[in-house]
Every structure is written in C-alpha cells, then in structure tokens.
Symmetry: C2
Subunit: 213 residues, 2 copies
C-alpha cells in the first residue's frame, strides 16, 4: 500500500465532487426525481458514461448529497444546547445557528427540505435517518439538564423531535422568505421556540397521563 493519496484517486474525487456540485446547483429549481443523469454530467463538464464510475443512479447521488448536507452538522446542536446561559439565550443562539448555516449553504438546505418528502425513496429514508439521529442527540442533550428531571425517555424524544422538526421548518421558511424577510422569520421562530420551552417547563405540573391505556 502506498502512503500517498494517489494522483489518480484525487482526480476521481475531484470529478465526483464536480458531479455533486453540479447536481446541487440544478436541484435549486427542480426536484431530484426529475434530475437527469445527462443533465448533471453536462453541467459538470463530463461525458454521461463517466457518471457510472461514481454513482449507480441519480438516487445514489442524492443519498450522497444528504450525507454532504447533514453529515457535518452532528454534534453542533448538542454543543449549542450544552452552552451556558438561560433558556432565552440558548434559544436565541439556536435560531442564529440556523440562520447562519442556511445563509452559508442555502442550496444544501433547500435540497433537504425538498427531498424530505420527495419522490425518491432511498433519499427520503436517508434524510429521515439523519433527522432521527438529530432528534436523539437533542434528546440526549436535554436529558442532561435539570429541567428534564422526571421526564420519560419517550417524552424527551418527543421533545427532541419537536425541536428538530422546527429547525427544518425554520430553515425552509428562511429560504422561502429570502434575505428581506429573514429577520421576521427568525423572530417568529424564536417566539415559537419560546412557547415550546414554556410548555416544557410546565409539562409535569399535573397528572398529564391521558394517554396511558
């Protein structure tokens, strides 16, 4: 085995990335199920046949895009929630985090929002798996806090999922609003989070067991 990365392999990764970038660009105005293989290779400056050296399908390319978009975000949420400060500060930081990431990588988030319920099964499942992981991470971070004393694991996961779903909704709303409506969307998102957090603090106030059969 060689200790260098290899000129050949780096070049392969380069074209692979070119395909991913080209696809992401095209997906800004259409959804994955209508994305043509030739369309991607044309935008990437490669012949159609070269596509097969990297992905079997456009669906496989989509799964790779999911990984690229969400893979690097793990831990970030937990880190933000673990920071000190009262709930109002931490809440504001969460919204700012989304705002910054969406501003920096709008195409990635648009892709996730679009394909979360899109027509390509494997991609939908990949996104669902990633979001489930996020929800679990948030739930784990919440469990560390004193406010979660007495909470069942099930309810913590419910709350984590609630937060994650609102992250996605907020990101999507930011994309729809554009730079002008950004502040308003952020304000609404903050108030929504505040209301949920308020509900959390009073979750155990009374019996609250209407669901148990």
């Amino acid at each position: 085995m060689s200790h260098t990365v290899g000129v050949r392999q780096t070049q392969k990764l380069r074209t692979r990335q070119a395909l991913l970038d080209a696809a992401l660009g095209l997906l800004e105005h259409q959804s994955l199920s209508s994305l043509g293989l030739r369309e991607v290779t044309r935008a990437a400056g490669v012949t159609p046949t070269a596509f097969y050296r990297h992905f079997e399908d456009t669906a496989a390319l989509g799964v790779a895009l999911v990984e690229e978009a969400l893979g690097s975000l793990h831990g970030m949420i937990g880190a933000v929630l673990a920071e000190t400060g009262d709930s109002e500060e931490r809440l504001g930081r969460s919204v700012e985090l989304i705002l910054r990431h969406v501003g920096e990588q709008p195409a990635h988030f648009r892709f996730i929002a679009r394909e979360q319920h899109g027509g390509v099964g494997p991609v939908r499942e990949a996104i669902a798996a990633q979001l489930r992981r996020f929800a679990e991470e948030v739930a784990a971070a919440l469990a560390e806090e004193p406010e979660s004393r007495g909470w069942s694991e099930e309810d913590l996961l419910m709350l984590g999922g609630l937060y994650v779903d609102h992250m996605v909704i907020t990101a999507s709303a930011l994309l729809d609003a554009g730079p002008d409506g950004e502040r308003e969307v952020a304000g609404v998102a903050r108030r929504r989070l505040r209301l949920v957090t308020l509900g959390r603090l009073h979750w155990l106030d009374d019996a609250n067991g209407a669901d148990t059969p």
Copy 2:
C-alpha cells in the same frame, strides 16, 4: 343561457377529473416536476393533445390538485376548535380529524406534503397560500377563546401557524408510518399538541418581551 348543465360540459368535466385522478395516482411514487404530460394522459385513457383542453401545464394541473386536496378543508378546523370541551378533548379531536382525513384521502395528503417544498413554483405558492389561510382561520378561532385574552394578533398568528405546521407534519408522519405505526404517531402528535397548548397557557406569565427592539 340554458338551464341544464349540458351533456358536453359534464363530459369535459369527467375527463378533467380523470386526468386529475390519474395524475394523483402517479404522484404517489414520484414528484410533480418529473410527471410527464403523456404519462398522465396515458393513465387517463386520453390522447396527449386532449390534455391542453384542460390544463396549460402539468404545473397548472398541480395547482388544481392543491385546490382539490385542501379547498374542502376550510372551516373544518375552525369547527373542531369551536366545539365544546376542555383543551385535552379538543386536542384529541383535532388529531382524530387528521387521522381520519389522511386515512380517507392518503394520496391527496402525500401530494401536499411532497409538493409543499417541491420543485414547481406555482404549486408551492398555491400550497403556501392555502396553509396561510388555514393559519389565519385557526388564529381567528383561537382569538375567540378566553385563554387568548391579552394576546397580540401577531402572536395568535404565530400560534395558528404552529398548529397548522404540526398538522402537516403529523399527516406526513402518518403516511410514512403506514397503518401499523398509526397509533404511535397519533400518540406523539397528541403529546406535542399538549405541550404547545401548555406553553400557550403560560405565555403571558412574565414579561416575555425580549424581542422588542
């Protein structure tokens, strides 16, 4: 003007409906931006050219589908919220309402969930407009309740949007879960609604004006 509906016009509406039905069926496994005009007409048992007598685009057909899926739901939410009972009962009825409608018209809801952030602009906008109307209706219904004393119109709209977004999320989750996971999804949805409602009751407990600049 004739007082009868006209054999010709009813037949036209019949094929129009056939096109809508065929499209809805095909859209169960793909998204609108990849739906072909010929594909639809083939499934509807009509020649491709006949399509143009009813819709200019597949996009226009999509907009018509949005109307068909959501148009008849207006008022229902307000009616449910206006019913008597404590918040726990009304909350349960809301979830049951979604559960029933999704069970009866799964394809419609799948379409809405899929195209809410899909690749076809006009359809996205049509859905957004309908959901905004829902949010306003819910806000108006909430405003009638004594629990909303002291709430600003802005916050009521925020809360209404929160409820509507959760309706959509729940519907989509129900579709993903299938008949087996239906009860579990409904349980989580109920607990989420309960938490939001809890937050609502304590919204005005303290100052709560961190946003005002």
